[in-house]
Symmetry: C2
Subunit: 273 residues, 2 copies
């Protein structure tokens, strides 16, 4: 696999990290729930696993749509390790919960996909907003869905994706409300993380991106938006699962939302500054 770093290309996989401990817990079945807040400081990633026949097109799609689908690493066909993401790492066992898709529809969840592994499966690791949410918190900005103990609200939009490799459609976004001065600060902070969706794609009036009801997200949970706050929208990794569904791919494995692969890459390593 190749790791496309914004900065340094070294990482911590040669030591036994807190991230490796989380992966082992998932591998043994001790951890089957969401990974939010685990191994703080380490990058967590979205996974998409596709047969080689679909992988080449999906790679072109990701390269053409880096805001929703920031590629951190792409595997060789059949490869279950992923050295650039971490040592002691098994793509087929180290995610707490996987989703299996067949013929464009969800076909169940699993905690281990070893028995589904094939020699032609290609793994894509895509950046995740957890990285910038930690940064927002560190800079003193309140992240509403965390404060309210909910999943981040996500919405289908009218923002067109660049069609490539047989995939396309419209973007899925996540939303975090902020007062204007904090929204401006959030733009600055998340700009530092292009590999975790980067700066927002929209703020203010939701209807301008085709979102009619803020209190009815397509994915995740609704959160409170105060009268003096702006909804701020970021490109979301769920876009990748949506385009797989829309394309009706024959077979795919992804992580379950919130149940991420925890890597040995430090968040500071994927920050621009």
């Amino acid at each position: 696999m190749t790791f496309q770093s914004a900065g340094s290309s070294t990482f911590a996989s040669d030591i036994d990290t807190a991230a490796a401990a989380v992966r082992r817990q998932a591998r043994t079945g001790a951890l089957t729930g969401p990974t939010a807040g685990m191994a703080k400081g380490y990058v967590q990633v979205n996974l998409v696993i596709l047969p080689a026949r679909d992988a080449a097109g999906f790679l072109r799609f990701c390269q053409a749509n880096p805001k929703p689908c920031p590629l951190l690493a792409v595997g060789e066909p059949g490869e279950r390790s992923c050295a650039p993401l971490g040592g002691d790492l098994d793509i087929a066992t180290d995610v707490p919960e996987y989703r299996v898709y067949r013929n464009g529809a969800l076909d169940g969840t699993r905690h281990d996909v070893s028995d589904l592994w094939q020699d032609d499966l290609v793994t894509f690791a895509l950046g995740c907003s957890f990285s910038f949410e930690h940064a927002l918190s560190q800079y003193g900005l309140p992240v509403r869905h965390i404060d309210q103990g909910r999943n981040v609200p996500m919405y289908r939009t009218s923002i067109p994706l660049v069609s490539a490799g047989g995939f396309g459609g419209t973007m899925v976004v996540s939303m975090r409300p902020f007062r204007a001065a904090d929204a401006i600060r959030a733009v600055q902070i998340t700009t530092r993380f292009p590999q975790a969706h980067g700066a927002p794609v929209h703020l203010g009036d939701p209807s301008l991106i085709g979102v009619e009801q803020l209190d009815a997200p397509e994915y995740g949970d609704a959160v409170t938006v105060a009268d003096d706050e702006l909804p701020v929208f970021w490109a979301c990794g769920v876009t990748s699962q949506q385009v797989l569904l829309d394309a009706g791919v024959g077979f795919a494995i992804t992580h379950s939302p919130g149940h991420m692969l925890v890597t040995d890459i430090l968040e500071s390593q994927v920050a621009l500054l």
Copy 2:
């Protein structure tokens, strides 16, 4: 004078710049109008000139309020040259139009203040939004008041200033409307220019900062704001003139709005990145 650079501390005053040519035109009386668009690429500055008795307090005020009053240079008492801002530069003649204030009120405009010069006058050079407006245009963002051939609209707000040195009050802001995606880009671009007011201080609902009527700015001209645009507000150098008026200073000289001192400092030299 000391020049507080964001990056390099060298500048182009040892060569005869396009900026120096503009200054000489102002000095001879050939130029008496606004300087917008002149000597592109060179930093233009707001000037505030105060007797030493008020200058010490005003310096503390600027240091405490860097968003509206970003200090590029401060002169020694009586000094009419300003080497850090440029060679061949005379503070008392090189601005196309000056304003003279007496006892907290405007007491006329002049094209030359040599006859008013005193041995205890201290010059403050404050960054100006022209620097980031050029950057916005270079990145392809339309600047409405330029496109409409107007002065930028400016508003008094309820945003409190930090009181210091006998000066205080509320911030004056300038406004430029953008569609959301461009507003996000504008935050990124203007963040690069902390010495030209930097990132916006507000965007969206004007009433949240005490601005009730967008079409009735206190200074400058109203501009069109489309239904799908957000008003984006930046701290404005006019704040400095407002606090001088509010404090009722006995004597002060400033530039007239839009009639700036053109320096030999390159805009690229005051950019963070």
